[in-house]
Amino acid sequence: MAIAKQLLSLALAVLGVVVLGVGVWFSTHLGSSGAATFRWSPSDTRPVLLEPSLLNRVDKPLTVTVRPAQGDSVWVGLAAPSDVDAAIGRSSAARLTRVAVRDWAIRAERTGTGEPAAIAGAEIWRSRSTSPGAVTIPVDQRAAPETIVVHGERAPLRSVTVTWRDQTWFVESVLLGFAGLLLAVASLGALVAGRRSGRLSAS
């Protein structure tokens, strides 16, 4: 029975260390502002679609930051997902569908073939603009679901970054780390105490 208790203490200690590590890892990435930032860099000039499965699965506002190549401009359009799909059709596009928390990256699928569709002339956009330099697009969830389309005017974009910000996430990750620390310390204490009492009873 004593061995069982020691094994359980050891397992809880390991779990505590893991939880501590997860808490520290999250709080380091989120920072004190609680900003969860995910990044993706395209390799070609095809239009980049930020899909509702990326933008509209959390009821929190977010910001999309698009950085063009040096000296280039960014075209941005925001429309209903079915309209964007109809306009893009089977032409080439990069679809950003979800985030990968482990890598703090955005997962992309390259779809379609051939020349990109002439989407800039389509009149499906709730808003559209062309801006020199980096562009930050605030997205609230009132008009969800929506798809954002971005592309560099002349060259591939440098990066697309999506950021959700919630300070409670930082607090929660710190609390998680603290809980893991407590669990690890308590379990290790129990393990040490168990081993001592085992040695005493054996002697």
């Binding site: 509209n56 009821d59 079915s82 309209d83 002439a118 389509a122 709730r126």
Partner: protein
């Protein structure tokens, strides 16, 4: 490993698995992850502000294209006009005549969107109105986008008759249906237009059972035809016929009726009597023909855009029309 140790190890493994799986669920709960909201596809595909901005752009570009000449002008007109609007603009160019007031494309007040055809499919249609401040006449504009990557183009711009009104259409956000046949109407729009065209023939009009002829255009044409016949006396005869061109565009009104836009081509013919040496033609025709007298006949072609209200029962009424002299041929 002994039996109790194996059981404990298995329990720990199970507990760890449950903890990891629960952890994933907890993470989803913490960030509030949920399924993607379903897209609403039933109403108007554009909001009112966007549709108004599109209408403003199209009218402005159409006005600019109409003013241009040569091959570039033709390309510009074909890029922003279609159907009746293109026919009217091309007629003005070929006949070198100006657009009769009120010009539907004259710099308008900010447009008011009356309706957007509902659904996510193409072609998409916007119905808007502007006010001509000089004449206090309301103008109706019909726009269409044929495919997802095609911008909206102007199908028709028509001044409404004084005192005419468009029946209620319903909230713009709800969208309207297009009308393809006579379902729920006193008759199919295409049939009513054919009836209207035949009823305007001169000197032998057909009877119209489903459309009223008590509108500004009908009265004007009857009066004009009678006046020309009287002016020509026995030197020549005057005849007039109308032909419906293409399929009409119609949207459903909230009362069940339909608002219909269509293109007609009117052909006026003056035929000199056998004993007449020469017949003097009206001044606008003479300007187009390049001479004031004909010996045998002259045929004048005019394009007309008409807007009708077709009710579920009773008779359809023409509430607006625009006409444009297109060509004249004579000998």
């Amino acid at each position: 490993m002994t039996g109790p140790r194996r059981r404990i190890a298995a329990l720990l493994a199970a507990a760890a698995t449950v903890a990891v799986l629960a952890g994933c669920g907890v993470a989803d709960q913490v960030v509030g992850l949920h399924a993607v909201p379903t897209e609403q596809t039933g109403g108007a595909p554009l909001n009112e502000q966007t549709a108004a901005a599109i209408t403003t752009r199209v009218i402005s570009e159409a006005q600019s294209a109409r003013a241009r000449t040569g091959a570039a002008g033709e390309r510009a007109r074909k890029a922003v006009l279609t159907g009746p609007a293109l026919a009217m603009a091309q007629a003005a160019v070929t006949s070198r005549t100006t657009v009769a007031a009120p010009d539907p494309l004259a710099t308008p007040e900010a447009p008011t969107v009356l309706a957007i055809v509902r659904g996510r499919a193409w072609p998409r249609t916007i119905l808007a109105t502007t006010l001509d401040a000089a004449s206090s006449r309301q103008l109706l504009h019909l726009l269409t986008s044929p495919s997802p990557t095609s911008p909206f183009v102007l199908v028709a711009s028509v001044p409404m008759f004084a005192g005419a009104r468009v029946p209620a259409i319903g909230p713009v956000a709800q969208g309207v249906e297009t009308v393809a046949d006579g379902t729920g109407l006193v008759a199919a729009p295409a049939a009513i237009l054919s009836e209207y065209a035949a009823a305007l023939a001169y000197p032998r009009p057909a009877r119209a059972a489903h459309v009223s002829l008590d509108d500004e255009l009908s009265r004007s044409l009857r009066t004009s035809a009678a006046a020309q016949t009287a002016a020509l006396k026995k030197l020549a005869t005057f005849s007039q016929r109308q032909q419906v061109v293409g399929a009409p565009t119609a949207v459903r009104l909230s009362g069940g009726g339909a608002l219909v836009f269509a293109l007609l081509v009117r052909t006026d013919t003056i035929t000199a009597a056998s004993g007449a040496k020469a017949v003097t033609v009206p001044a606008p025709v003479a300007a187009l023909l390049g001479r004031s007298q004909i010996k045998r006949s002259v045929t004048v072609t005019t394009v007309e855009t008409v807007v009708l209200v077709v009710p579920p029962t009773g008779t359809a009424t023409v509430i607006g029309a625009a006409e444009q002299l297109a060509s004249a041929k004579g000998s």
